[in-house]
Each structure stands twice: as structure tokens, then as C-alpha cells.
């Protein structure tokens, strides 16, 4: 008889770790001042550690504590983070506490990430899309320890994450059901929660934080900064894409181009008689610039990846539109939002820093390894999908009896950035960055094959209508302005593409450039948005021009 195999080594290890730290706990609760010792005791060298941090919400109390652990006891951690947002997320690599990183987005820290990879201070597993990263938490990146943030916790250890639930339940689930340790920082300990977002049974350790977790109002765009060029592009998109394809379900990226569209719906969209026909159901963070469209009756529903600072009261007062708990506060969910964004939408509209001659786009530019967040999920066509919506069907080629439709993936860019650098380039900087950072794949954000439309100030290229790469390139050249790519375009070719409906200039769409005025925006200032919201929207201080 052979010795019986131990099938619960993970559970034994978890129990041993918790037992070794038991003197630090009162039930599940540890003291604020003991946070570093809790991490020293519960985290072991080589652990896979998820540190909650996305582009909005940061487990900032725990991430700061992690920089203070003893590198003799805690080292070579394999960090898994959807967003590298704070300096301390990288300090732990300089301090020898962590050595490897799997991530999705590194916007604010993108320059330093580039340097650390070049120096060998950090090795990168992969730069994931959100769904790849969340998915792999349950496959081959199963965490040993997760460090997450909650708004409120009750005496039993139930968590309220509210508006900013985001990815907390997904991260916690990956650990809680595979013998990982769940450590939570809490803004506040209360007797009774507004509602339970995560049950105490999934939680191992709770540490009251010295201050509330860090939260960024990332999706707030001041209408004051919207330009006439963006308004023109918005008008073209509404008429030449939204109306043409009867787009009913959609996601907007975070830029000013899409804010302009949101503010044009109640004015220009109304003039075109499109209300009720387009833009009804959204996967979108609660962007303040959508308030005028909501108030004018355009929007039926909005599900959100995350919250948005200042929108709390407005959302609570509009439960027909938003996903709101019985307690009156919104619940967001990034993983489900990304699933919806990839699989359930007619259209994604985004922006980028570079588009190459073939139509691939990326926000990774020289010296900046930014990663992409949600755009590659939303901005890709899931080929296994079968949808009957008019928009999806409208991209079906008519010469193939077995053909299926396609998601609309729209890139909206000005041909030159504000720094006068061309957006259209022959080769993406990302090609070089791949070599420097030794990545397996060129960090392309949205692939040419998935991109169905490109909108610039010159016009729209309907890439899905092209039937060869040569034609696709010519369509891009036709709207690429005086960038190196655009300069290859010739008037004869543009004429042919316009006749075939592959390229449309404003005059082809019946859009008058002279109408592209700021007065066409439903709200021109933050003040106007507050007024549209009946005083329910409360802009963060940095967006206020008064008080």
C-alpha cells in the first residue's frame, strides 16, 4: 500500500500562515498599525500576489505598506495588477520585494515601467487585456495572496464596495476558492452595511486603513475643452456611423471625441430625428457628459465597469438607468462589464496615439509602455458571436451565404496630435518597444482586422467595405491628412473610394463644417452639466470653476 497523497497542501499552507500570524488578529481584524507585520507574516517569497489597483481605485493603504515589508522575509513576488498606477507599485521592484509583473495598463507609470524592464529590475509575464488577466486568475495565475480595498466592513467581516466594486469580487473569488489569502483594507468599520457586496466567508483578514483608498475621477471630461474639430468628427460619426448602422448598444472610450458625441445627441442627434433609434443601451462608466442625453430621454440603460466621483447622487436618483442596489448606491463590476463590452455590444468607439498604414493602432509609443486596459476587449470582434441586431448584421458581406455580421470597432483620431506629431505612421513605435522590452507580441491595442471604421477631421474610412489590404491602405491614406501615410493619397484614388462608399468626406455625409460650433453642444461647461442634472451631479474640486 502506497502512502496516501495529500490533496490539500494549499489549504494546509494557508492555515499554517494564518496560524503563525494569529497573535496579530482579533477574529478577522488586525490593527492599522500592524499592517506591515501582517504582510511580513502572511506573504512568502515567490508568492503570486494580486494588488488591487485599476485606473480608478487603488488599495493604497496596502500598497504603501507593501513597500515597508522586510525584503529578507518577503521577496521575489510575482505581482498581478490590472493597472500600475502609483509610484509604490514600482518601488517594490526597486526594493527587491517583487521581481515579476503581469498587468493590463500602466498609464501614469508607463515611462518608468519601460525603464525598469530595460534595466532588468522587472520582468514582465504578459501585458494582458482585462479579460485575459481576470481569466488567468482562475487558470494559471491563481493568487496566493490578494490585497483589496473596501469602503465599509461590518463586525462579521462582510464587505461593502458600492459604486467602486469594480474588480474586487473577481479578485477575491480567485483567492477565496483556491486557498489564497484575502486581505482587505477598509475605509470604515460599521455595525450595519448598506448592503453586502462580498460575504465575510470569502475574507480572511481585515485591516482598517489610516485613510480612505485613493480614487480618481478618470472619466470626467470638461466640455469647456471640447474643440470644433472634435465636434465636426462627432457630427460625422453620428450621421455616418451611428445612424447609418442603427447602433443601439455601445461603449465609448474616455476621450474628448466621444464626450463631444454624448453632448451632440440631444442637439444634433435630435435634429436628425435619431432619438430612440440609436444609443439606447450602454456599457460605460458613468460619464457626466452623458447626463444631458439621459435627461432628454435618449438612454434606456447603463452598466458600468466602475464608479465616477461626483456622480453618486445623480445615479442614486436614476435607478431605471443605472445598476443600483436596494440601498440606493450603484454597483459596478469590471469583469462583467468587460464581458458585456466584448460580447454584447454593437459598437466600440475609441481613440489612440498611433495608427499604422495597415490600420493597426496602439497607445504604446517610444519609451512609454502603457498597456491598454479595456480597449482590446471592447475593440475586438469576437468571432464566435452571433447577433441579430441591425448594426451587427449591417456589416455582413452579401456575397457569402454563410456570412455573419461583425462588431463595429471605430477609431476616432485627429490626424495630428496636440504636440503636432502625426497619428498616422508607417510603423507603430510598438514594433520597436516589443524588441526593447523583449515582449512575445507587438503591443498593438486594436488590430487592423478588427477595425471597421476610422474617423478623422477629413472624413470616414469604412474599412470593413474594403476587399484587399491595398484598398484598406488607400482608404486610410485618404483620411490621414498630411501625415506621412496621408501624403501617399492621390485625388484620383480618393474619388474612386468616395464613389464606392469606402471613404466619405463631410460633404458626402451632408455634414456642414460651418455647423461644427461649440454652441451645438448640449452643455458647454461643467456648470451646464450640473444644471442638466438638477443639481444632483457634484463635480470633483479640480473640475469646478466656482467656489
Amino acid at each position: 500500500m502506497t502512502e496516501e497523497k495529500n490533496w490539500h497542501t494549499h489549504r494546509d499552507a494557508k492555515n499554517a500562515r494564518l496560524a503563525s500570524a494569529s497573535s496579530l488578529f482579533n477574529g478577522k481584524f488586525a490593527k492599522t498599525e500592524d499592517v506591515v507585520e501582517v504582510l511580513n507574516t502572511l506573504i512568502k517569497p515567490g508568492d503570486k500576489v494580486v494588488l488591487e489597483g485599476d485606473n480608478q481605485k487603488q488599495a493604497s493603504f496596502l500598497s504603501e505598506a507593501l513597500t515597508k515589508v522586510d525584503p529578507e522575509r518577503v521577496h521575489d513576488l510575482h505581482m498581478i495588477m490590472s493597472s500600475i498606477s502609483c509610484p509604490e507599485h514600482l518601488d517594490i521592484f526597486d526594493l527587491g520585494i517583487a521581481s515579476k509583473m503581469d498587468f493590463s495598463f500602466a498609464g501614469p507609470q508607463s515611462t518608468r515601467v519601460s525603464q525598469m524592464i530595460a534595466d532588468g529590475t522587472m520582468t514582465v509575464g504578459d501585458i494582458h487585456t482585462y479579460l485575459e488577466l481576470f481569466g488567468r486568475l482562475f487558470i494559471d495565475l491563481i493568487p496566493n495572496v490578494v490585497l483589496v480595498a473596501a469602503d465599509k466592513v461590518d463586525r462579521e467581516g462582510n464587505l461593502y464596495t458600492g459604486f467602486n466594486t469594480e474588480e474586487t469580487p473577481t479578485i477575491v473569488e480567485a483567492a477565496a476558492f483556491h486557498d489564497g489569502i484575502v486581505i482587505v483594507q477598509a475605509n470604515e468599520v460599521v455595525d450595519k452595511l448598506p448592503r453586502v457586496d462580498i460575504p465575510s466567508d470569502w475574507v480572511d483578514v481585515i485591516i482598517p486603513a489610516d485613510k480612505p483608498y485613493q480614487l480618481e475621477p478618470l472619466f470626467t471630461r470638461d466640455p469647456q475643452a471640447i474643440t470644433e474639430l472634435q465636434i465636426l468628427m462627432g457630427m460625422m460619426a453620428i450621421k455616418g456611423i451611428y445612424a447609418k448602422h442603427h447602433v443601439q448598444t455601445l461603449n465609448h472610450g474616455v476621450g474628448f471625441n466621444t464626450s463631444a458625441i454624448e453632448l451632440l445627441l440631444p442637439t444634433y442627434g435630435e435634429q436628425l430625428g435619431l432619438k430612440g433609434k440609436i444609443c439606447r443601451n450602454w456599457e460605460l462608466n458613468p460619464t457626466p457628459t452623458l447626463i444631458p442625453a439621459i435627461e432628454s430621454g435618449w438612454v434606456q440603460s447603463i452598466h458600468s465597469f466602475g464608479g465616477e466621483v461626483g456622480m453618486e447622487k445623480y445615479i442614486a436618483a436614476r435607478p431605471d438607468i443605472f445598476f443600483v442596489g436596494k440601498d440606493g448606491t450603484m454597483r459596478s463590476n469590471r469583469a462583467l462589464g468587460q464581458v458585456a463590452g466584448q460580447y454584447a455590444l454593437d459598437m466600440f468607439v475609441g481613440s489612440t496615439l498611433q495608427i499604422d498604414q495597415w490600420g493597426n493602432s496602439s497607445t504604446v509609443t517610444n519609451g512609454r509602455l502603457s498597456g491598454f486596459g479595456g480597449a482590446p476587449n471592447m475593440g475586438s470582434n469576437p468571432t464566435g458571436r452571433r447577433h441579430s441586431t441591425p448594426a451587427w448584421q449591417s456589416l455582413k458581406p452579401d456575397d457569402d451565404p454563410l456570412a455573419k455580421g461583425q462588431k463595429l470597432v471605430v477609431q476616432m483620431v485627429e490626424t495630428f496630435g496636440a504636440n503636432k506629431k502625426p497619428v498616422f505612421v508607417d510603423h507603430l513605435d510598438a514594433e520597436e518597444v516589443r524588441k526593447e522590452a523583449k515582449l512575445a507580441n507587438v503591443p498593438i491595442m486594436i488590430y487592423s482586422e478588427d477595425t471597421t471604421h476610422i474617423v478623422t477631421e477629413e472624413g470616414i474610412a469604412y474599412l470593413y467595405k474594403t476587399d484587399s489590404m491595398e484598398e484598406r491602405k488607400a482608404a486610410i491614406e485618404a483620411i490621414a491628412g498630411v501625415t506621412p501615410v496621408g501624403l501617399r493619397s492621390n485625388p484620383e484614388e480618393v474619388k474612386k473610394l468616395r464613389e464606392k462608399g469606402i471613404v466619405a468626406l463631410p460633404e458626402d455625409l451632408g455634414v456642414r463644417r460651418e455647423d461644427a460650433k461649440r454652441s451645438l453642444l448640449a452643455a458647454q461647461t461643467m456648470d451646464d452639466i450640473v444644471e442638466w442634472s438638477h443639481g444632483l451631479y457634484n463635480p470633483p474640486a479640480k473640475f469646478r470653476s466656482w467656489s
Partner: protein
């Protein structure tokens, strides 16, 4: 501050005056008059030096699509090529309007 001058041979005569754009950072104003002679002329005053080639490209592309024969006076305050093209095409629309 730089002054640039360009000339073109274009076919569609400008018959009236048009003024588009504003004097503001990142923007420009364009005044268009009927041509003085045979040639289309552009006199550009720009706050961003060293962009002569880009101006040439923007104008080549614009006149290839819209061959307006007129006299153009441009005051530029650091507009991107996209904004320049917006203002040029707005001027083209203003000139076409039957008013």
C-alpha cells in the same frame, strides 16, 4: 514668428469675401478675397516657426480637392494641421453659400 508665402494655379474663382476662424491659441483665422491676378496667393503669419513643409503639404492637399482661386491671408497661432484644414474647408463652404 515667421512669414510664409505660397502660390498656386487654381480653377475655381473666389467671388466674394469670407472670414473664418479665430485668433486664439491652437487656432487661426483665414481671410479670403477674390484673387488679385491669375494666381492664387497665400500670405501666412505663423507663431510656430519651422513648419513650412507642413504648410505646403496641407495646402497641396486642400487645393487638390478644392481648387479655389483667391487671395488668402492667414494668421496662425499654433494650429495643428487638422485645425488648419478645418478652417480652410470652412472657408470653402462659406464661399459656396448663396448669400
Amino acid at each position: 514668428m515667421e512669414k510664409l508665402h505660397f502660390e498656386y494655379q487654381n480653377s475655381t474663382p473666389v467671388k466674394k469675401f469670407a472670414h473664418v476662424g479665430v485668433v486664439a491659441s491652437g487656432d487661426l483665422e483665414i481671410l479670403v478675397y477674390p484673387a488679385d491676378g491669375e494666381k492664387t496667393t497665400l500670405d501666412i503669419t505663423t507663431g510656430s516657426d519651422g513648419f513650412e513643409k507642413v504648410w505646403q503639404n496641407v495646402l497641396d492637399r486642400f487645393f487638390a480637392r478644392y481648387p479655389l482661386n483667391g487671395k488668402f491671408i492667414v494668421h496662425d497661432f499654433g494650429a495643428t494641421p487638422g485645425v488648419v484644414n478645418l478652417r480652410l474647408t470652412q472657408a470653402m463652404e462659406a464661399l459656396k453659400d448663396e448669400k
